[in-house]
């Protein structure tokens, strides 16, 4: 995940707005896992998640003129489109079920809950290895620092140092994205 405020991210955003399809392709490589995961979790259907992912990128492309690079990062913008498409899909289901009001209320919260988890998982991925692996072992799997050191054949001090740096980076990025959203 290299988007955001980096120089590369800004250049990509400009190319995207100007209609460069390669920029869309790069954006897709970068964000499709996030969008698809969000949709799959919220909709609990891989077929619907594929539809939403497709709709999201097609909408983003067609609506690229309305994206303002100065106002926030491209990834966040795509995620906001995805959330709307997910909400639309949930609302369509709810209409079918003829209990729109009740269901919509429940699902709006659910989309955001999933969003936080998926976004954070993306940030962890973006740490790159070995940090992403170390964080996953420590927090997803609950491995001790010693177990991690052993499994990765890495000195204990190095594992701890990676964990500290990862936490600092994740916390800083998370605060930035909280402010932006």
């Amino acid at each position: 995940m290299t988007l955001g405020t980096s120089a590369h991210g800004r250049a990509l955003a400009r190319a995207f707005v100007e209609g460069d399809e390669r920029a869309l392709e790069e954006l897709y490589r970068d964000v499709s896992s996030l969008v698809y995961s969000l949709a799959a979790r919220a909709l609990e259907s891989t077929a619907d998640a594929e539809d939403v992912t497709q709709q999201t990128f097609v909408s983003a492309w067609r609506g690229r003129a309305s994206y303002d690079p100065d106002r926030g990062d491209l990834r966040g913008w795509v995620v906001s489109i995805a959330k709307r498409r997910i909400a639309d899909a949930l609302a369509a289901r709810a209409r079918e079920a003829r209990r729109e009001q009740a269901v919509q209320g429940i699902h709006v919260t659910t989309v955001d809950e999933h969003a936080d988890k998926v976004l954070l998982a993306c940030e962890v991925e973006a740490l790159g290895d070995p940090r992403a692996t170390i964080v996953a072992l420590a927090y997803y799997e609950g491995a001790t620092h010693e177990q991690i050191a052993q499994r990765l054949g890495m000195p204990l001090g190095t594992v701890k140092s990676h964990l500290r740096r990862s936490l600092i980076e994740l916390r800083n990025r998370w605060e930035v994205s909280d402010v932006a959203s």
Partner: protein, 245 residues
Amino acid sequence: MSHLDDDALASIAIGDGTPDELEHVATCPECAAELASFTAMTARLGALDSEVLAQPPAELWQAISSDLTPHPDSEPAQERAVPVAPADDLATRRNARRARTGARWWTLGAAAAAGAVIGGVGVAALGSGDDQVRSVLASSALTDLATEQPAGEATVEVLDDGQRVLVVDTSDVVQRDDAYLEVWLIDEQIEGMVSLGHLTGDHTVFTLPDGVDIAQFPIVDISIEPVDGVPTHSGDSITRGVLGT
């Protein structure tokens, strides 16, 4: 002892704090608050698992890229829209608000109507089939009238049950305590208007009454309405766009 730096705080968060550091953080509210942001992060991480991120199937990109070439009659709205709806100047609007007369609509909207930037129109099918196909009847970029900056997008869509809705996506409208935001469709003469309801967030969907013709009321207008019980438009428009017909 001076305040703890991030490395020390992260040390504590991973269970490695020294007695000195732990003692400091127990007595220093500032550092305790910083530490809380680290422990909140470890709690969030602890709630994740390796299944959270999934990859879409490889063929999905092919489906998307083949969907990008626009059909002649479903040209993407924004490509034709120049996202600058003319803005009336602030002073005019303030005066208009004071006056609250019918005539204000001319001053308010003359520019918008005269130099109307027509948003894209046409029927663009969104989605890939199934039951989620929706049609976009018209759309328009929204413009902040004070800054002339893009302020989002308004789209008229037909849902799969035939209901028409106006979807207003605007992220930069500030909700105020002493007033609310109302969304209107206004005719080009700035004489007739239809209130669609209150803007409650950055994505609000308004159901269009069946009799309302968007060709007749093409101007999408967001106004600040003081909570004064007066049901008419305050004259204090902040955002506008023009739907094509």
